[in-house]
């Protein structure tokens, strides 16, 4: 059944929202990859920060926290230099793969990992440090190695912190801009993420397009955070079969 005429005209009068799904999926891919890697890399780093007795530990803590205060362009600049053909790392990568890391998806992943590191490591370390030391001592006296204590006691009791850290690094990567622009540039399907797409559209006065993409990102991030916080509300809500 066709719409009555006035309504159809109204719909056509609305600005057409063209959403760049390619950028959206690329961003999602980036955020999932980065938060997954940060979950793996962040665990040992956070463990070390939480339990090391090294007296210069605060220096490492400061380095890890640096991306929180550093302008993304500064971080992006150094990552770009480090990945470039003139640095040892860049040369090694080129000898390995035949192309440079800069302006590739892999380069973007590396930059984003550095950028989001504190958002994963700090909640991890805080929740590790919050685990009752007596439980770790009990685990050791029961014959468990430090590794077993970590996976059987510390990690299970830090689930809320692990969820928070992973969610924060995910959301942080979803919305990052400066580092991506510096390291990845703006190559559709390779390094063009949602936030860069939005920026481009605003530059081109395509406010409607920017609005559409921004809305999708906003809704998506909100849903993710709602799921995370609802999971975190009752860490042990699921009981065993009696």
């Amino acid at each position: 059944m066709p719409f009555p005429k006035p309504f159809a005209r109204q719909v056509r009068a609305l600005p057409v929202m063209t959403i760049d799904w390619q950028a959206f999926w690329l961003t999602l891919q980036l955020a999932v990859t980065v938060s997954a890697i940060l979950l793996l890399v962040g665990l040992p780093v956070a463990y070390w920060i939480a339990f090391s007795g090294w007296r210069w530990k605060f220096l490492v803590e400061a380095v890890v926290a640096l991306p929180i205060v550093l302008p993304p362009t500064v971080l992006g600049f150094y990552v770009l230099v480090a990945l470039g053909a003139r640095s040892p790392l860049g040369r090694w990568w080129i000898s390995l793969t035949g192309h440079t890391l800069a302006f590739t998806f892999s380069g973007l992943v590396i930059g984003s990992i550095l950028y989001s590191l504190p958002f994963a490591v700090q909640p991890f370390a805080a929740s590790f440090a919050g685990v009752d030391r007596k439980l770790m001592a009990a685990s050791a006296t029961l014959g468990a190695s430090p590794l077993r204590t970590f996976f059987r006691v510390i990690v299970p009791l830090s689930i809320p912190g692990l969820i928070t850290g992973t969610a924060l690094s995910f959301a942080h990567t979803m919305g990052e801009f400066g580092v991506v622009l510096m390291v990845g540039g703006n190559i559709p399907g390779v390094t063009r993420t949602v936030s860069i797409d939005i920026y481009d559209r605003v530059q081109a006065s395509d406010y409607a397009g920017a609005n559409g993409t921004a809305l999708v990102l906003l809704a998506f991030c909100f849903v993710v955070l709602v799921i995370v916080y609802s999971l975190n509300r009752k860490p042990w809500a699921v009981g065993p079969a009696k």
Binding site: K134, L135, T141, L142, G143, A144, W236, P240, K242
Partner: protein, 395 residues
């Protein structure tokens, strides 16, 4: 479920039947000699102790802050001593002269903490099986269900550790440690929070278990009752040092040290000099040091080897003193001393009364006794003290 499995496999467990799996009950000694500097609150002191613990209970007794827990932590390997040697039989756990320091997980030292430290995210059964990871699943199940039965907590196997009651938690914590077959057991006031009957039952179970295992058990407490209930041997720690050791009776009823006396619950401690000895009666008379204007206070005390005129100290428990409102007649008690009530104070169900009889003595009464004697400050009374309620110590 675990009950059914245990009965099927014929493993109807009693504590005595839980025979040790890989250590023969050969009566291994725990030998400890260690020094450890500790930063206390506002002051530093050093734990400096040397002792041997034979199989069975050895009580570590002392006020909080005396270094009892640090001592246990050193034996378990959770704290590294500055110097010393810790060994179970021939097996060296720590030796500063050889640079030996066995990892906590490899010491086979069972440790039940004061706050138990059950894993809250695991079930009771998972807690008990935690230390059995090196075994196959079948044996793990068998051992854990046997010990759960023996400690009468088999019905809790599937419950979360954080859901069960205090007494149940104590049993689970003990079972979790004992199931690993430790070579030495450390208990840091594990029963402090329990009521007396529950405590007594758990201690019985523990004794029963150790009848077959025969391992040294270091039991930390600051409760006098527990010392008498458990004690085969008592080591008294004060400010990091062993001040006295012996049987509970020796240590607690005739303390040689004032710190022990206070710990042992002597509310009244007086300086005294020996006035005369009566070997034929097995007693002697001591004069208590009083303020210059007060009269003499003489006490008949048990006879000890001390010269007339020598300085001693007398400890009397507030609960061992009787009060009379008129001069009592025909008593076996040798000390009847007149005095005046200076204050009465109710503490829970006990009335603590202070009586001045030349020295001030604290006397504990029941509420009923206070009411029937119509005691009030200013009232004249007689203090009645048995000879053997007067405990002598060196000054």
């Amino acid at each position: 479920m675990s009950d059914a499995r245990a009965i099927e496999s014929g493993a109807v467990a009693t504590l005595a039947s839980l025979a040790p799996q890989n250590s023969k009950p050969d009566g291994t000694l725990l030998a400890v000699r260690l020094r450890k500097r500790m930063a206390g609150q506002g002051h530093e002191f050093a734990l400096d102790a040397e002792f041997q613990a034979a199989p069975g209970f050895t009580i570590l007794f002392g006020a909080s802050g005396a270094g009892k827990t640090t001592l246990l932590d050193c034996v378990a390997g959770l704290t590294t001593p500055d110097a010393g040697r810790i060994a179970i039989g021939e097996r060296i756990l720590f030796d500063s002269s050889q640079g030996a320091d066995v990892a906590v997980a490899k010491r086979r030292v069972g440790y039940v903490f004061q706050d138990l430290a059950l894993f809250p995210h695991l079930t009771v059964e998972q807690n008990v099986q935690y230390g059995l990871a090196h075994l196959g699943q079948a044996e793990r199940r068998e051992r854990s269900s046997a010990i759960l039965q023996a400690f009468r907590i088999a019905h809790l196997a599937r419950r979360w550790a954080r859901e069960i009651s205090g007494g149940e938690s104590q049993r689970v914590a003990l079972a979790r440690t004992l199931v690993t077959d430790p070579a030495v057991l450390l208990l840091d006031e594990p029963l402090a929070a329990l009521d007396a009957p529950t405590k007594a039952k758990i201690i019985d179970d523990l004794r029963e278990w150790n009848r077959t295992h025969c391992i040294p058990i270091l039991y930390v407490t600051h409760s006098r009752e527990e010392v008498f209930a458990l004690g085969e041997r008592v080591i008294v720690l004060d400010a990091g040092r062993i001040v006295v050791e012996g049987t509970p009776h020796d240590v607690m009823t005739a303390p040689q040290q004032e710190t022990v006396a206070q710990l042992a619950g002597f509310e009244n401690i007086f300086d005294a000099t020996v006035e005369s000895a009566h070997p034929e009666r097995g007693t002697m008379t001591c004069r208590l040091a009083t303020a210059s204007d007060a009269g003499t206070v003489l006490l008949e005390t048990p006879l000890v080897r001390a010269d007339v005129g020598s300085a001693l100290r007398v400890g009397i428990r507030a609960g061992d003193i009787l009060l009379a409102t008129s001069l009592p007649q025909g008593l076996s008690a040798r000390n009847v001393i007149p005095g005046r009530v200076t204050s009465l104070q109710q503490r829970d169900v006990i009335v603590s009364s202070r009586v001045n009889c030349g020295v001030e003595m604290e006397v504990h009464l029941t509420l009923a006794a206070r009411d029937s004697l119509q005691l009030a400050p200013g009232r004249e009374v007689w203090l009645v003290i048995k000879t053997h309620s007067c405990h002598l110590m060196q000054r």
